[in-house]
């Protein structure tokens, strides 16, 4: 076969968003030779788009806040389906992980006393989100990037990993290609951390970037790891609606955190009907359903959304606290949000489901394979609270880095079979050799239409089944793809493998959605509108690759110890 490079490290981290960077920093600090492999240039990962803030019970603004309250908010927001151990570590460790960013040079907005300022967000009892205007993600990724490049990590930019390699049960390497040259590259490692983010590009309207194609989910699945709770995908209540070319781009929850009000075409503040207590700052699943329902029932804005207005806070305040939103609407939609309302509608934003991990070390069910950040499942249960993803990636990025470094320590590298590698290479090159076949862009668009239509905010058995049937047809069509051009920086070719990943995650989403016959968090079944707390609320969905097909099963959730469950009964 054609020549390829080989690199050998103790730990390979795939993905360089917040979780990947934090994991690599920790792995390197533990003395492991660490590589960070990413599809884009460093600092461009999806974390850069996070806006509103990072949730941590620092208690700088609301002094009553503590980890117990953050833990309870997270579990309640997740409809008690969360991996309680992850939610516990997350609540306890987030404050120190945020302060650590400050030690590394981050400049968060300040309180009058000179501490990190915190803002209100949906589902959080207290003002809890540390932030920098509405560009918190950029601040975090720059800080981690800076720390990372001075931490002795080897960074492989614009390098796509396509296959994990195993020796018996254990993961021992990864295979992929350089985007620039199209040449293949093999990484030998004793531990691999997946930090590949989410799956939003399977949908037509999404706040996610091109990288969000479910690579980590699908590679873990193919390597035999279990995925958990894949039916839960978050539709962020407020995405842009108009003009069509920007539909789906995120409108930060900070707009509501800073006092933004939602109204329908009749001028009614409709959240009064759906959650009179929390109103606009209800959890994302509730607000998304409410906007969707208003539009469905004919009370939508001119372009089919709801109105979101923050102009009453005054132009100076809006420009200072929400500068990106101000520019985003001014430049893309000719709308001045200091003067009038925006139009918003739910957009695919975040997958709660993911690789099933142990909360302590982030190890998956496959030895040597770890996962952190959005690609990992369990932490957020059935619905994620805003701000909890940025804290998640810090807390579990660090834990995954430590877990992988400890696992890799003292192990010797396994030999990688040349035959195996040749098989991967042939599979990847196939679209160049096919004389006939489908255009990957066409199938991608068709998949996005299917997911948007059938596996959306509201679901029924009938439409999910129809979605699954259509995904099956797309899988068949995607068997034979054909592309033009050379192997050099060829986006059409890159899409061929990404498409395969998206088809796997789409199928997992749909099959889990079909199996869960109740409504819980972000999973809303019109035919089963109630939550079944006694039976289904105590079961996780488990997806695995069995006998050449996708298997969907359930497994009882791990019960909380009494000292924690007590926290919830004390409330009542």
């Amino acid at each position: 076969m054609e020549k390829y490079e080989t690199h050998t490290h103790d730990v390979i981290v795939i993905g360089a968003g917040g979780a990947g960077l934090r994991a690599a920093i920790e792995s390197s600090a533990q003395g492991a030779s660490t590589a960070l492999v990413c599809k884009s240039l460093l600092g461009k990962a999806h974390t850069v788009m996070a806006e509103g803030g990072v949730a941590a019970a620092l208690a700088n603004v609301d002094t009553k806040d503590n980890w117990e309250t953050h833990f309870k908010d997270t579990m309640k927001g997740g409809k008690m389906l969360n991996n309680w151990q992850m939610a516990l570590y997350h609540a306890q460790e987030a404050p120190e992980r945020v302060r650590e960013l400050e030690y590394w040079g981050a400049l968060f907005d300040r309180t009058k006393e000179g501490r990190i300022n915190q803002r209100a967000f949906g589902g959080h009892t207290w003002k809890r989100l540390a932030h920098v205007g509405d560009r918190t993600g950029l601040e975090m990724i720059r800080t981690l990037q800076e720390k990372g490049i001075h931490s002795g990590i080897d960074v492989y930019m614009e390098c796509t990993i396509t296959h994990l390699i195993k020796d018996g049960d254990r993961v021992t390497g990864a295979f992929g290609y350089w985007r620039e040259s199209g040449k293949f590259v093999l990484f030998r490692a004793n531990a691999i951390i997946l930090a590949t983010g989410g799956v939003g590009k399977a949908y037509k309207y999404t706040s996610n970037s091109w990288e969000y194609t479910g690579d980590g989910h699908s590679m873990a699945y193919e390597a035999g790891a279990e995925l958990i709770d894949m039916e839960f995908i978050q539709f962020h209540p407020t995405g842009m609606v108009w003009p069509p070319s920007v539909r789906g781009i995120l409108v930060t929850e900070a707009v509501r955190g800073e006092g933004g009000i939602l109204t329908n075409s009749e001028g009614e503040r409709f959240m009064e009907k759906y959650d009179p207590e929390r109103m606009e700052l209800s959890t994302r699943d509730v607000v998304a359903r409410s906007i969707y329902t208003e539009v469905e029932q004919g009370r939508g804005s001119p372009h089919g959304g709801a109105f979101l207005d923050v102009s009453h806070r005054g132009a100076d305040y809006v420009k200072r606290k929400l500068p990106s939103m101000y520019h985003q609407f001014m430049e893309f939609a000719d709308i001045d949000i200091t003067k009038g309302p925006m139009e918003v509608f739910p957009t695919t934003h975040y997958v709660m489901g993911g690789v099933k991990v142990d909360g302590e070390t982030c190890s998956s069910t496959v030895p040597g394979l770890f996962a952190a950040g959005e690609v990992a499942g369990g932490m957020h249960g059935a619905n994620r609270l805003g701000g909890n993803s940025l804290s998640d990636l810090l807390v579990f990025g660090k834990r995954a880095g430590a877990g992988a470094a400890a696992y890799a320590s003292g192990k010797s590298h396994a030999q990688v079979s040349a035959e195996l590698v040749e098989g991967f290479a042939n599979e990847l090159r196939e679209p160049f050799n096919n004389t006939q076949g489908e255009n990957p862009y066409t199938i991608h668009q068709d998949l996005q239409d299917v997911m948007q239509l059938y596996i959306g905010v509201f679901r029924t058995e009938e439409n999910i089944q129809e979605g699954i049937d259509k995904i099956e047809v797309l899988k068949q069509r995607a068997e034979t793809l054909k592309i033009e051009g050379s192997v050099m920086f060829n986006p059409g070719w890159h899409l061929c493998r990404d498409l395969k990943s998206m088809l796997i995650v789409s199928e997992a989403l749909a099959r889990c959605a079909l199996a869960r016959k109740e409504s819980r968090g972000a999973h809303s079944r019109v035919d089963y509108p109630e939550s079944d707390d006694e039976v289904l609320g105590k079961l996780n969905s488990i997806v695995s690759f069995k006998d050449g097909a996708m298997d969907v099963a359930t497994r009882p959730i791990v019960e909380m110890p009494e000292e924690l469950s007590k926290l919830f009964t004390e409330d009542k």
Binding site: K44, H46, V48, M49, D109, G485
Partner: protein, 243 residues
């Protein structure tokens, strides 16, 4: 729906040529959408970098009708009906393929800048008015368009001597961090070549984040360097100390 004509550079390090495409224009559409249309319908292998498509990541820097621009932020309705739109890779960096250039030099420069260094016994109190100067520079999305238009880099290719505006503000940001204790003035002068900047402000004009690169970053940095090297008292002290 109208139809736009785009002439896009297709080629690699060995050279290339413009290729013309016709693209239907929808309301609010941006040049990046037009490039996606070309990929999906004409040439699937057209190379362009992009990530967020919301002007937040700085990946899709190109030269549109000769003007350095983010393709995701350049609306098609800013062009006249029937106007041909040319899309080229940014000029100051070597072409890899089509609209993708080799910007790796920037990452090498970035790594050389001494990192944020707080005192050991720092008390982590900072006030909003003190962090705002740094926050302005930290809005940078690393689109490298300021690097692209800087005469020192674009016309004179002095990448050996001048770090460029992006990294001037990175040095300035560290220097202005309220809790940083390191002195980077020698680095700014000797390694980063702050003296090369002749304040034409092209970088400021092109910045999509409206960062006042020259006024708030480079000029204060130059002043600090001047204070250290050309202040008579400092000069005398240096002579005495033998530094």
């Amino acid at each position: 729906m109208s139809v736009a004509k785009l002439r896009v550079f297709r080629g690699d390090a060995q050279g290339g040529e413009e290729k013309e495409y016709e693209v239907p224009v929808d309301e609010g559409m941006v040049v990046l959408d037009a490039l996606f249309y070309i990929q999906a319908n004409y040439d699937g292998d057209l190379a362009i970098r992009w990530n967020c498509k919301a002007a937040k990541c700085g990946s899709c820097s190109t030269e549109i009708n000769g003007k350095p621009s983010l393709a995701c932020k350049t609306r098609m309705d800013t062009f006249a009906e029937g106007e041909t739109i040319t899309v080229y890779p940014i000029k100051a960096f070597p072409v890899i393929k089509d609209l993708v250039t080799d910007v790796s030099w920037n990452y090498e420069v970035s790594k050389k800048i001494p990192p944020f260094t707080p005192a050991e016994d720092t008390e982590w109190i900072m006030y909003q008015e003190d962090v705002e100067r740094g926050q302005e520079f930290r809005k940078c999305i690393e689109c490298f368009m300021c690097q692209n238009v800087c005469h020192i880099l674009r016309d004179h290719n002095r990448k050996d001597a001048f770090a460029g505006p992006r990294f001037m503000i990175k040095i300035a940001e560290r220097e202005m961090h309220p809790l940083d204790v390191l002195d980077r003035r020698e680095f700014a002068r000797e390694e980063a070549g702050v003296g090369f900047c002749n304040i034409t402000k092209c970088c400021t004009e092109v910045c999509p984040e409206d960062i006042h690169i020259t006024d708030n970053g480079i000029i204060p940095l130059k002043e600090r360097v001047v204070d250290k090297y050309y202040d008579p008292l400092s000069w005398l002290l240096r002579k005495i100390k033998g530094k």
